[in-house]
């Protein structure tokens, strides 16, 4: 019994380019080290471990590789933030706490191809000269934890891990640390606190940039699973060759997870920017379900701003003139969608068709963020349950029209007033939903509701106010 949907022999769509997901669904491919070595695995490590660590960092910088966890920060640049003349130990953490709703790429890497991650991770550790590294895996992947522990043992037996790796004199130890179901542990400083064994409240930046002051106060590099796999691809192809693929500012491939109302939801690996959202949804995913049309798209995980399919966006022609376009014409790279006010984040595309009620969708998202707020900063801790109450009231038809504006104003007051990016993550959906689908929210409200009590206690109290009852 496997913990994933395994589709052996499933042929990727012709417009896909599978590099990271090359071995996913391949017939006869197992997570064992033999499968990986037969496939040319650990050759890149053997090659680069003879070179200088600085040259690896240069290569990754040249490639223009940007992190795949959501923020899209250049990976090579992040590595150079370790202070010069540092005497403390350096740590590297692989962030496998994939918990952004809509994202499910890392699950397949750690379940079906764990050694790919390990090779990328060992290369990255060597580049930043870390001798101790941690894979932080979310608790909901118990099967993957077992696979990864076996993979770690196998790698050690083959001398890819442990003392004096491949005779280079370089030592590295990797351990697996499991989370316990908290979304906030995906935030790098929260994750570090979780490993330190305290409540995983995010730390304030500055001064707590992990590359300078991270785990146990030492320089720490936190990279996403897919980013580390991409590091292996960079070293395999060479930085310059990698940089020529795909969009100029975000080269390489991207793994897109599509969920929701399409005919063929699932994972797709594409060259960054090679296709548009329209091509993804209509060609790769087979379009909307029978008799339906697309209504809204969340382009980069639950915290990205929702895009309406009917909204008119301004695009630029190559000659500089302005043209009208829709979300379907936006190319799938990291930056294009950001110009239209949303973000492409971790590549989780959630699609909703015309049968969906937008206030209901927002209520679901608000419940997620209210549940996952860590409670450190007051605006987020108090604001999220408030937004949940407001959206529940709207869905129940008990809200007044002003409540829609109140909902947005609560979101506006959380955004930018918290320690970590959770404040933005929870308020962006509210801002976008209430602005772009305002009519739909207002249709569920009634002016008379402003005069009615919201709960049994206030209803009880009202009897003192009116003479009629």
């Amino acid at each position: 019994m496997s913990d994933i949907i395994y589709k052996p022999g499933h042929e990727p769509h012709p417009r896909e380019t599978r590099r990271i997901f090359r071995n996913i669904d391949r017939v006869g491919y197992t997570p064992s080290i033999d499968s990986f070595i037969k496939d040319g695995g650990y050759e890149t490590l053997k090659k680069v471990i003879k070179t200088e660590p600085a040259s690896i960092i240069d290569e990754v910088k040249k490639s223009g590789l940007r992190g795949r966890g959501g923020a899209g920060f250049p990976t090579g640049v992040k590595w150079t933030f370790i202070p010069k003349g540092n005497t403390k130990p350096v740590y590297l953490i692989c962030n496998c706490d994939e918990s952004e709703p809509g994202t499910f790429k890392d699950r397949f890497i750690v379940h079906q191809d764990p050694h790919q991650l390990l090779e990328g991770m060992i290369i990255a550790c060597y580049a930043v000269q870390a001798h101790y590294a941690i894979i932080y895996m979310r608790e909901e992947f118990p099967e993957a934890a077992k696979i990864m522990r076996t993979a770690l043992k196998e790698a050690e037996q083959h001398h890819f891990l442990g003392k004096n790796i491949l005779g280079s004199g370089y030592d590295l130890r990797i351990i697996l640390h499991r989370g316990a179901g908290a979304y906030i542990c995906g935030e790098e400083t929260g994750l570090i606190n979780s490993i330190e064994g305290v409540r995983p409240y995010p730390r304030i930046k500055p001064p707590f940039f992990p590359a300078a002051i991270g785990l146990y106060g030492c320089p720490t590099i936190v990279n996403n699973v897919e980013s580390l796999c991409q590091v292996r691809q960079v070293l395999m192809r060479g930085g310059e060759a990698y940089a020529t693929d795909g969009a100029q500012r975000s080269p390489g491939t991207r793994i897109i997870g599509v969920s929701g109302d399409v005919k063929r939801p699932g994972y797709y690996e594409i060259i960054s920017g090679s296709i548009t959202y329209g091509e993804l949804l209509y060609d790769l995913c087979g379009g909307p379900r029978e008799g339906r049309t697309f209504k809204a798209i969340i382009p980069g995980g639950a915290s990205a701003k929702v895009m309406s399919c009917t909204e008119v966006l301004k695009g630029r022609n190559p000659d500089g003139s302005v043209r009208k376009m829709s979300i379907f014409d936006v190319p799938m790279d990291l930056d294009s969608i950001a110009q239209h006010g949303s973000m492409s984040g971790s590549g989780g595309v959630i699609v909703m068709d015309d049968s969906r009620s937008m206030p209901e969708m927002l209520r679901n998202l608000n419940r997620f963020f209210a549940w996952e707020s860590c409670g450190q900063c007051t605006p987020c801790r108090e604001g999220n349950p408030w937004m949940l109450k407001l959206s529940e009231r709207i869905c129940a038809g008990k809200a007044a029209p002003e409540d829609v504006d109140l909902l947005k104003s609560v979101a506006d007051n959380i955004c930018g007033r918290t320690v970590c990016a959770f404040g933005e993550a929870c308020s962006w959906p509210v801002q976008a939903f209430t602005t772009k689908f305002r009519e739909e929210f207002l249709a569920k409200t009634q002016p008379i509701n402003a005069l009615k009590p919201h709960n049994p206690e206030t209803a009880e109290a009202r009897k003192f106010l009116s003479r009629e009852d």
């Binding site: 019994m1 913990d3 994933i4 949907i5 130990p89 994939e98 918990s99 952004e100 709703p101 809509g102 994202t103 499910f104 890392d106 699950r107 101790y132 979310r138 608790e139 909901e140 992947f141 118990p142 099967e143 351990i175 640390h177 499991r178 989370g179 316990a180 179901g181 908290a182 979304y183 979780s194 490993i195 330190e196 064994g197 305290v198 409540r199 995983p200 146990y216 997870g257 599509v258 969920s259 929701g260 109302d261 939801p265 699932g266 994972y267 969340i298 639950a302 989780g348 959630i350 909703m352 969906r356 969708m361 679901n364 998202l365 997620f368 549940w371 996952e372 860590c374």
Partner: protein, 193 residues
Amino acid sequence: MTESTDAISALTVEHPSPGKKYYPPFQPTAALEKEAKEYVSMYPEGKELSAVLPIIHMIQGKFGYICPESMSWIAQQCKCTEIHVAGIVSFYPGIRTRCPGKWHIRVCHTIACALSGGEELIGYICEKLGIDPKELSGDEPMGISPDGLWSIEPVECLANCGFGPNLMVNDTLYSQMDKEKVDKLLAEYAEKA
């Protein structure tokens, strides 16, 4: 349930649960201590506190939940205070202070699974197992069936969004569920009991 007199005992209350008969009661043994030491040794010198989460996972895996006695035992292993362990336990949604049923079902109800019917599935399973859906709200949302065999917990995102609705029974994930598949699955697990 006893009246609590201070903050620590208020946080570390023993909750009644019919699921307890399926799990052994917590007993500190030498073997457990040895296992805990192994976890501590995974982390750098002097960083025992880091092992708190792995040790909690070990205890929860063996005994089903974190009882007040085990909290003080964990505190000893990690060289921290009991209230610190209580703070960790109360933070994470994945750690329970109430014993679940033998088969603990976690159903995802976040947006992608909700789009494919995850929320309805929760109500359906509750009805089938005779669990009051009102138990699924509050700080520790978990409903336990009267015979203690089943428990259900709505959870946020299991990271398998493309293949919803998803649910987990103990450590195994099941995707693309519907009512018929749930019926079959519950019958399968009922037989195993």
